[in-house]
Assembly symmetry: C2
């Protein structure tokens, strides 16, 4: 019998039980670190910029020397050459001299502002300044982007393209990260066959190992191995043990319900695993098992492809974020669309309803529910996303504006 848990209870159980993984650390090139999770804090040892820079094309000045400048009564300065990009300024600015500085160029000694070229005129070697500037105007001061000691990345943070840019900007070449999580996949069922040319009556091609493994690839989870096991207690048990030897997480599909040949529960019991969840209040996807074995997570998905996919989609982000201790996680983004037909639900059970989103003739986004018997892959692959009808309502009426979440986010 199931002792059914709510989705929120299940999320709490995952958070409470899987934050003590022993993660493999490694040092890799920053250039190769995209989508890894940092295993260290990095503080900057450099200033960015590491010199005062002009942020406009113009003339470097001591702001005092042009503080009265107007169109009617301009200040006149002697032009003393120019600063070249990528090079240290050679001249020193005095109260009656200036130097041309391009955007990004080094602000010379003695200068503390830059007059934009648009606010000047040039007459031979004289620069006529028509507008005053305030101190440090048009200057990006040394260290104002990143100063020495600035935290560039904290431990347990996703390394994004922008983080890589920030690390490279301060000359960091290597970073300690956690290795990607690895998974051993098991598909169970006497009827399941894989890569077979011609099916016999009674046989079904494996779907789950392909949908699950490719879904996980997009989450940067490594699939170590993927096997099909008959409904055979001994073989299945051995596959589970091997999976835990090989990988951080074991994910099995099928066998997680309470029928005669649903061995998952009994195998986990026999192995002495701690069964944390057996049955979740989610439609589709009720027969789900979550267990802890040797401090690792076992995730038993329903055999039906749609159900397996939804359960994975619902809990995998929590699993990954918990294992890596990722904080400040954003909710899943959505788009809004107009529901086209009524969707009925049952109070007390959260429903995930697949929808196809498209534009109607008025260029409004509409959401068309895709109804299909449990496990139908064809409807699933048409879906743009899903809507969630929570436990406390009986459904949504047509023309309601609903939030559509993208599958896989």
């Amino acid at each position: 019998m199931f002792i059914v848990k709510s989705i929120d209870e299940t999320i709490k159980i995952i958070k409470d039980n899987f934050d003590d993984y022993i993660l493999r650390k490694m040092i890799i090139e920053v250039e190769d670190s995209l989508n890894y999770i940092s295993a260290c804090d990095i503080l900057s040892l450099e200033n960015v910029p590491h010199f005062d820079r002009s942020i406009v094309d113009g003339y470097a000045v001591d702001f005092n020397s042009v503080k009265l400048a107007t169109n009617a009564a301009p200040s006149i300065l002697k032009l003393n050459g120019e600063v070249l990009m990528g090079q240290e300024a050679k001249s020193i600015i005095t109260s009656d001299s200036t130097v041309y500085v391009p955007t990004g160029g080094h602000l010379p000694k003695g200068a503390n502002s830059v007059v934009m070229i648009e606010n000047t005129d040039r007459l031979n070697d004289e620069i006529i300044v028509n507008k005053s500037v305030s101190i440090w105007e048009n200057v990006l001061k040394m260290g104002s982007d990143i100063s020495i000691g600035t935290n560039i990345i904290s431990k347990n943070t996703l390394i994004t393209p922008l983080v890589i840019g920030a690390l490279k900007s301060i000359g960091i070449e290597e970073i300690e990260v956690y290795d990607f999580l690895s998974v051993s996949l098991i598909s169970t069922g006497d009827e399941i066959v894989k890569n077979k040319q011609k099916l016999e009556i009674g046989e079904i091609r494996d779907i789950n190992s392909f949908t699950v493994s490719n879904y996980l690839k997009n989450k940067n989870v490594i699939i170590n191995d993927s096997v099909i096991i008959n409904d055979n207690f001994k073989q299945y048990k051995e596959a589970v043990i091997r999976g835990f030897e090989n990988s951080d997480i074991v994910i099995a599909s099928g066998g997680s319900s309470v029928g005669d040949k649903d061995y998952t529960y009994d195998i986990l019991k026999k192995l002495g695993a701690d069964i944390l969840v057996h049955g979740i209040n989610i439609k589709p996807g009720k027969p789900t098992i979550i267990a802890k074995y040797n401090n690792k997570l076992f995730f038993g998905l329903p055999g039906q492809p749609t159900s397996a996919f939804f359960v994975l989609n619902t809990f995998i982000n929590t699993i990954i974020n918990t294992i890596y201790h990722i904080k400040n996680v954003m909710p899943i983004p959505y788009i809004e669309a107009i529901l086209q037909i009524n969707v009925h639900s049952v109070t007390g059970r959260r429903l995930y309803q697949l929808v196809k989103v498209e534009y109607n003739e008025n260029n409004e986004l509409i959401a068309i529910p895709l109804f299909a018997k449990s496990g139908m892959i064809n409807a699933l692959k048409e879906a743009s996303g899903y809507i969630i009808i929570n436990e406390f309502v009986e459904g949504y009426d047509a023309l309601k504006t609903v939030k559509v979440y993208k599958l896989g986010d």
Copy 2:
């Protein structure tokens, strides 16, 4: 001088000018096809399931033989064995016999319904049926998920984990796809250095090639080469020509404005490229160039890392979808959060404002604008996402609920 185009005009120009790319096709294993774009339609040559299946554990019957069954007056049938999972049913159902069928098992000849085991009792070799069933109740008919001739994937469609599952369910092993798009990257600027241990005054480490290349990696775009070029007309021109020889798209950062050493425009003119956009009404990011050369796209980004990143983020999806002819593209999803301080904007120019999103003490999502001078990588890498203030308003007040888009989506 810029002839500034709006963002919407720019998007239309991309759509109108880059839908005639000559794409490289190749045939790959379905197992390796994740995130590729299909170059063919695939229709199913098989039914899924390819036999009538029970969707419950129960007894296969001719519905006529139990149509009067109730608790008070049950129908009694002779049990004639069981169907094994993965095997063809051996028995034939008659009006007074039944066979046990597990969930997913083959429905025997003569049967057209399955009575759930919960609605039966067993007495030796007799099954006592307490409830009637309708015709085809609890049966998933042959081809009801996918029938022969069903379109599984259309040309120019993203291959998702679910599409792979659907293709494998009908025994498809190979698929024709378009090769991933490739990019040659050019960073320009006399002050830019890469992988240098110690900077001289005036030098700045390259950021754009790392942020841009890693951003594109997450979009499954291949970086063929990435070079740094001084502000030298000849070298830059040669780099552009080489880029077009090597790759589908050339992306350059820097040199796209209208200053002395901004050579991008002149080089494209000299090469005879068709300059479609020079200057976009977007903040940050105005000095952007889009050109067509040899039927390929040149994308000239501003030199400032923040600006370059925003421009890329704003237009790359349109570029990719246009080149691959991907239809029915969803808008970018968002989350809603409460803006914490006023954000001012200028009417007539669309503003992209970085924000950091977090939960406050009341567990509400709040959006904190990150203000920074143009090009500051440190603020950028802290951002959870951005808000868009369109051309027609002067800004948003604090406490307004705003839509926050994730960077990179």
